[in-house]
Structures are given as structure tokens and as C-alpha cells.
Symmetry: C2
Subunit: 254 residues, 2 copies
Amino acid sequence: MPTPEADPVRPLQLGVDRGSPVPLYFQLAQQLEAAIEDGTLTPGSLLGNEIDLAGRLGLSRPTVRQAIQSLVDKGLLVRRRGVGTQVVHSQVKRPLELSSLYDDLETAGQRPSTRVLARDLVPASAEVAAALGVAEGAEVQRLERLRLAHGEPMAYLRNHLPVGLLALEEDRLEATGLYRLMRAAGITLHSARQSVGARAADGPEGEQLDESEGAPLLTMRRTTFDDTGRPVEHGSHLYRASRYSFEFQLLVRP
Amino acid sequence: MPTPEADPVRPLQLGVDRGSPVPLYFQLAQQLEAAIEDGTLTPGSLLGNEIDLAGRLGLSRPTVRQAIQSLVDKGLLVRRRGVGTQVVHSQVKRPLELSSLYDDLETAGQRPSTRVLARDLVPASAEVAAALGVAEGAEVQRLERLRLAHGEPMAYLRNHLPVGLLALEEDRLEATGLYRLMRAAGITLHSARQSVGARAADGPEGEQLDESEGAPLLTMRRTTFDDTGRPVEHGSHLYRASRYSFEFQLLVRP
DNA sequence: CAGTGGTCTAGACCACTGG
DNA sequence: CAGTGGTCTAGACCACTGT
């Protein structure tokens, strides 16, 4: 067996700008990522050892390691002790953003729109209370929307939010997604816990979504947290299975 | 508004064993994680600054930072410049492992079992070829199994693997999950790309799964990659929606 | 302003891999 | 055995936060 794809760095132009406010490790990471994306660094190729790379760039080894580590975390590089650092073999697409259905549809060129069905204060059910960390029966904001693409219904969205977190203005809700409103309000979304299942539509649900009774629906419950770990939203949504599926990526943490 | 929950470290017993082969930063991270889990470090409490912590433990600051950073990556801590490091407010459960249905069921005490329906070599379909990175029509290993819990069918599992990757012995397939076999064979699973949807069962599917025709089924397609980015498995599975849903966590990468 | 985390340096020794 | 990444140290300066 030949040695693993020997292919040290060649026409690879690396260099950092010490005048820039962008951290050096980040500049390096960006350049490496770009080189991987555009094929200058081919899958399987070795990166050359950290010490040389640091010397060539005029950086210290920890700084170079920080850049490399960030790409390892993204799944673009693999490190093996005694071997070296190589580019992964197949381009593993990056994990999906925590995005809203609205953004997903817009990205896909589907011309999304929203019809607000309800927007009021209600007492929290047991499920909502547990998700948002409030007392059962305490007031929470409720939001029910129908999401359409090309004028056709795609999903029935029901959300609950802590009171006072966000001003929900109807015209803005119809023009964009909930997550974008949150980000615009200075909320840093951090993580979400989701549960995806399926069930048959009952009569009224089917009518709202233009499906017949008994048609399969995708169900999604999601609680979203900000960067301090506080829950900022709980959703319980129904999607037409004929029109929508969830795509996502799992990463194994070593 | 009072200052954020003031609560410096008090009865927290930290200390590292320099004789241990376990890295110092890892020892510290484990102790902090345990303190968060058992409530010694309460949500919102501040950790005290890194310099002090390092001095108190006889470690350097970078080592302490490495420990803290690993917990930030896990979503257990939040750092804010000028403020400090605090424990997140709600316990965000850790992201799910890349686990097999078999393990999930076993963990839930559901006594899983497996019936192997097919185990042979077949030409790759377009979908399988694209997922595994082989030519269309090239030979791949096929595996079809019925997964049961308490003797009741839960899912119909169809997998395709590159030839020669793994010896699939029927008795071992019936006693455990595919992922555990892979790990035992020295394959390091790294990431997976998934797509989850729903559709109605057709006649034969319903019969296999003990559901009537038209019953909602959860569908899952998944391609799994090892740590070099090479695809090691592609699955196309059907789950009884009445018995199963997917739980997972999304993390936003800053 | 004082205090925090964010970045960076220039070394060191160790553990593992491969030939 | 030589070469790699993994870990660790003891400093330094900067950027941001709150009062």
C-alpha cells in the first residue's frame, strides 16, 4: 500500500494581516477553509506539520493549532497523532443552521407567506409550562400561523413565548419568520431541542392544510434556548408530509 | 435589577491528580461538569475568573481555559467578556449521540430484537451510489432487517454498505445494532446526514409492521461518515409513527 | 476605572504512528 | 527511530463590560 495520498502544501498562498482586527487564528482558518472549498487542498491531502506552518506564517504553534482545531470541529480536517492533519475525504456539508421554516422556504425560492391565525395571551398548558420554565397556568404569548409557499399551505405553526420577550407585530410576522424577529430583537439563539414524529390528520387539520382526513402529517415540537440557556420559544407544528421533510446533520462529539 | 446571581465558587472541591494519565484540562472539565450536574454549581452562578482558578489549582491559565472551553462547547457554560463565566440557566441536555435504534431501545428498557430479512450483494441504485460514493451499478452490501421491541415490530431497516467494509454475521446482527458492530470493527463514526419525512404505508409495508394500509409512517434516510469523511453506510428506514419519534438537538455554531 | 475573557507568544515534554 | 499531534507552562497585551 502506498503512503496515504502524499500531497504537501504547494501553490497554497497563506499569510496573515497583523493590522487587521480579525484574530490571526481566524484569518488562517478562513484561508484554509477557502482552500478546501475551492479544491486547492484536495481531500486526503496532508497539511504539513504545525511547527513548519507556524514558522512559515510567522505565528506561534498554539495559534496555528487553534485555527486547525476550529476546522476539525467543523469536520473539514482530521488529525492523527504520528500521522498528520489531512482534509476529509468527502465534503461533509456543514450542520444546518437553526433556521425557521420561512428562511428555509425563501432560500429554496419558494416565495413563502404567512397568515396569522391567533396572537394572544393564554394560560400555559403543562407542556408549555415545562418547556418555558414557567408555572402551569401562568400567562404566555400564543401565536398560531399558517405558512404557505406559492400560495399553498405547507404547515400549521403554533408557538408559545414567555410574556414580554418580544413584541409580535402582525405585519412583521406576515413578512418574515419568528427567528429573524428574535435575532433582530437582540436575542442570540443558541440551541434547540426537537422531537419529530408523524400522525394522521384529523378533519379540521386536513382542511387547513388542504389535505384529506387521515393524510400523514409530520409533527415537530421544538424548544429554543438563547445563549444563557433560557427557553425563548416552544413550538408545536404540523407539516404536510407530501410537501416537506427535515434535513439535518448529526455530529459525534469525541 | 440586582447583579446577576452572585454566587462565587464555595464548597466546590476541585483538584487535579498530576500522576494520572488523564489530561489535566479533562480532569478539571469532568469535575466542573459533575458539579453542574449535581447542583453544586447552580444555574446562573459565576465560576470566578480564570486566573484565580488557575492559581488555586496550580495550573496555567491556558489549561484552565481549555477545560472551560470544552464545557462551553457542550453548552453547559457561557462566557461573556467583561462579565465572567456562568452556568447556563436551564439544563440543556447534551446533543444526542449518533446512536442506533437498537441502542435507543435498549436504553429505554424495551428489549429490542432483530430479524434479518436479507443480507446479500446487489448493484447500487442511483441513490445508494451517490450516497456511498461508488459507481451506479457497482456491487454494495445490502441488509434488510425488522426491528422489534417486546416482540412487536417497530421499524423496517434497509441499509447499504461499501463492500469489504464490515463482515456482517447474521447472529451478531440479531444480537446488536449495526453501529455497535462498526465501532467494534474499529470504524470511528463521525457524522451523519439525515432526512426525516412521513408517508402513508402501502399494503406490504403495513403488513410487515403490523399497521393497516394508509397508516402514517416516519421515513428516515441517513448517510453516515467516519472520521476521515468517507461514507460507511446509507440507510433508508421506515418507523411506525404510532411507536416512535426522533429527538435531537440543534446547536448554533457561533 | 477595575475586572473579565480573547488573543498571542516561545518555548517544553510526552504519546503515538510509521517505517 | 524520526516525525507527528497532544498537552502544558508562564508570561503578555488587548477589547469589552460594568460601575
